[in-house]
Amino acid sequence: MTHEAAFRVWRGDASGGQLQDFTVTVNEGEVVLDILHRLQATQTPDLAVRWNCKAGKCGSCSAEINGRPRLMCLTRMGTFAPDEVVTITPLRAFPVIRDLVTDVSFNYEKAAAIPPFTPQAREADGSHRMQQIDVERSQEFRKCIECFLCQDVCHVVRDHEDNKPAFSGPRFLMRLAELDMHPLDTVDRKAFAVEEGGLGMCNITKCCTEVCPEGIHITDNALIPMKERVVDRRYVPTTWLGRTIRRRGSS
């Protein structure tokens, strides 16, 4: 059940690089990350790869496999034909550090900019009471393992570096939706979602949902509802009038 597979792995750093060919042994049941580990142990000990849990729970080993953003630990070798060349490249939307490791600090900056969760007070007995049905909407988004595949695939930034300052990306727009739907949170982040997060730039092509390894319905359950909530708030005539008057008064 063992075969020799052809791998092409991108190697290089910020100054440039190229695909390198390898022939490597594959055993039954293995995933792409196993093969990269075998390369490290036998052919290229300094091949730079990020990984941690190797079980699809930490979201570290993101890369592009035959052009598609995926977790290497969840991509089974059995999904390729034995004679198929498997090409591994770093996430394209982020600057390369070395080999398959990219600089994902964009994501950490976007996370830090979000106005923090601010709960209402506890009840008299010291508890918060919430119904299961009310927590489930945000719970879906909290399954996110921050692999940043959605951030990588989203065309708003994938091919438009200049959009990055004005766009949080699906992961963090979803975080805004999560907080907006959180039963205990008291902060309104709708204006933030539009003005800082760039929610309007998302045109719901669902690429993010397609690559999500956790199967989170990012577009349908987070981004579209968030767009609706923002519209409700911004364009209810009385709200609009109130805000417009206040803005004129203050300027």
Partner: protein
């Protein structure tokens, strides 16, 4: 070392899992200038792998529950070798630590009346684990991460500490490390350092642990003069995946059994009924009928034997496989498919469903899983003061898996996440207070130069073997010779191999340059892995009895003369030195708890 990047803090926390982040949050809130240093990106720490839940006697599901019951379960699960005061503080404070997570945004599953739901787990008398499906660790870690970010705590990501720095008088004055990305060195000066580096599992071949679990915190503590306690106690989780080979060891949560799953051998028998030890006989069901009734009526029925503490279940599985009654790939069957409907399984165990589907092409709602023991957790760790998490070295603190004492000879499931929160917070408080009360010593310049030279040494050599081979050989040796069942002869063999491996580490070669070079990183991890492996093996040889996570085939069963003794490891500059130390004595009012229910 003039070109060295230098920073100055009151508290430096090493590790950004649950314990590290909780410590950092607390130190920050106490007014200390705080930094967190972590080997991976923020949010990737091993805490995300915890599945089942956080044990806390909140009484939301069973009002009869309370800290005394939790304390009793924890001590009995640890075969009474736990530090009683740690177990007491843990049981008393865990409910508040869980509630506080809700104030920071965590969303636990709910009871019908809107409180935090609690689930059953092995060794816990009542349903006690606050949970979010089977991804509780992720929820805990993300909540703490988001809190730490909101507070603006400095985080040094992908940065590895290779040495703790001490002043002439022995107290801590900082840490030395390198950026993984660039390979450049940095020194963090601080009077207080909190170790929250997790465990040691990567020294074993079959493990649920990630690459980060090299025992570096244990090793750094030893080098700085601290003591380790109970290193012989390594927990083999009874249910890891066994097939396909590349996922062998990945955890299958105990919640599968808590939610109704049972263990069967190749003959289809629920073999755990044959392995009920006298110690737990009174509280364990004798028949399958009683065990099944327990899920709906816990007051009038006793627990299924599948939910005995982990050491008991792991040994039983090991015996069944050895006796030739295992599954096709050398495990046993864990069956929930025939006992619960598919919707319930997907709802309660979504990530297990996903994991088996993706990695093994097994649908757990339709067929049984194959499982076997996997190295999961080390009960042993840095010897600390229960109130402050302080090690014996002034300025050094330890919390979470790297600390020892709390879990005795065996940890109950769910007690790890609560341990992180309770003692992470205590370490943060104490580290901040200590920093305030003291002045930091100057960084020892010669030690900085030495640390840099040592880190670069592997590049200077040529023609040696690569570090991956050495790691592989160590993992084989520990798995085969200091694994779940041990003998003096095998442990001695392991110690001899470790000596050989030490020499090989001194001669290994690293290819390439300093920028993000995993081969180099591993080369620097190996001495830590060897040092903790030596501690485990030596302590395992010393303790001539079987108790909890330490089973000696040549000394079966617990022995009275060992019942109140800890094994302590020290580093004497050359190797690991051992001593025996009496266990702290429990005060009479707590000892009564065990008499009442015995």
């Amino acid at each position: 070392m003039t070109e060295l990047e230098r920073h100055d803090y009151d508290v430096v926390v090493i590790g950004a899992g649950g314990a590290g982040l909780r410590a950092a949050i607390e130190a920050h809130e106490q007014g200390a200038r705080t930094a967190v240093v972590c080997k991976s990106l923020l949010g990737k720490a091993h805490t995300v792998m915890a599945e089942g839940g956080i044990a806390a006697a909140m009484g939301n599901v069973y009002p009869e529950d309370g800290w005394k019951v939790h304390f009793r379960d924890t001590m009995r699960g640890g075969k009474m070798l736990n530090h009683w005061r740690m177990a007491q503080l843990h049981a008393q404070e865990a409910p508040d630590r869980v509630r506080e997570l809700e104030d920071w945004g965590a969303l636990f599953d709910r009871t019908p009346d809107g409180l935090i739901s609690q689930r059953d787990f092995g060794g816990h008398r009542y349903a006690r684990l606050a949970h979010v499906g089977d991804r509780t660790g992720l929820e805990l870690l993300r909540t703490l991460q988001q809190r730490a970010v909101a507070l603006g705590i400095d985080v040094y990501m992908e940065c590895t500490v290779t040495r703790l720095l001490t002043a002439d008088d022995g107290r801590i004055c900082g840490a030395f490390g390198y950026w993984r990305e660039s390979g450049r060195f940095l020194a963090l000066q601080a009077p207080s350092v909190v170790l929250a580096t997790g465990g040691i599992g990567k020294s074993y071949k079959v493990t649920s642990n990630s690459w980060e679990y090299t025992g570096d915190g244990h090793s750094l503590a030893l080098q700085a003069g601290a003591t380790l306690v109970n290193m012989e106690f390594v927990q083999f989780h009874p249910t890891g995946m066994v097939w396909p080979p590349s996922v062998r060891g990945i955890l299958v949560t105990e919640s599968v059994r808590g939610d109704g799953g049972v263990l069967k051998n190749s003959a289809g028998n629920r073999f755990m009924f044959d392995y009920i030890p006298d110690y737990f006989r009174k509280e364990t069901a004798e028949t399958e009928e009683e065990a099944d009734r327990w899920y709906v009526d816990k007051k009038n029925n006793r627990r299924p034997p599948e939910l005995l503490p982990r050491d008991e279940v792991a040994r039983a599985i090991n015996s069944e496989v050895k006796a030739g009654r295992g599954s096709p790939h050398g495990g046993v069957f864990l069956d929930i498919a025939s006992r619960r409907d598919a919707d319930y399984i997907r709802k309660r165990l979504p990530s297990m469903y996903h994991q088996f589907k993706e990695l093994a092409e097994v649908d757990i709602t339709a067929e049984a899983m194959e499982v076997g023991p996997t190295c999961h957790y080390v009960m042993g760790g840095v010897e600390v003061d229960p109130e402050t998490a302080a090690a014996v070295v002034p300025g050094l603190f330890a919390a979470g898996e790297v600390a020892g004492g709390m879990h005795g000879s065996n940890r109950l499931g769910g007690n790890s996440l609560s341990d992180l929160l309770v003692f992470g917070r205590r370490a943060g408080t104490a580290a901040a207070a200590y920093a305030k009360a003291t002045t930091v010593a100057a960084l020892p310049e010669t030690a900085l130069t030495e640390a840099a030279t040592a880190a670069l040494a592997p590049f200077a050599r040529e023609g040696g073997e690569n570090p991956y081979t050495i790691q592989h050989d160590l993992q084989e040796a520990m798995n085969e010779l200091v694994g779940i069942i041990r003998t003096a002869a095998e442990i001695e063999q392991a110690l001899a191999r470790i000596e050989e491996l030490k020499l090989r580490v001194q001669a290994l070669t690293v290819e390439g340059h300093r920028q993000y070079n995993p081969g180099w990183h591993l080369a620097l991890d190996l001495p830590h892995m060897l040092r903790v492996s030596e501690c485990i093996a030596r302590a395992a040889l010393e303790r001539q009895e079987s108790r909890g996570g330490h089973t000696r085939e040549d000394f079966p069963g617990p022995q009275d003369e060992w019942a109140a003794l800890n094994v302590i490891c020290r580093y004497d500059g050359d190797g690991v030195a051992l001593s025996r130390q009496p266990l702290p004595v429990m005060p009479p009012d707590l000892a009564e708890i065990f008499e009442e229910t015995a």
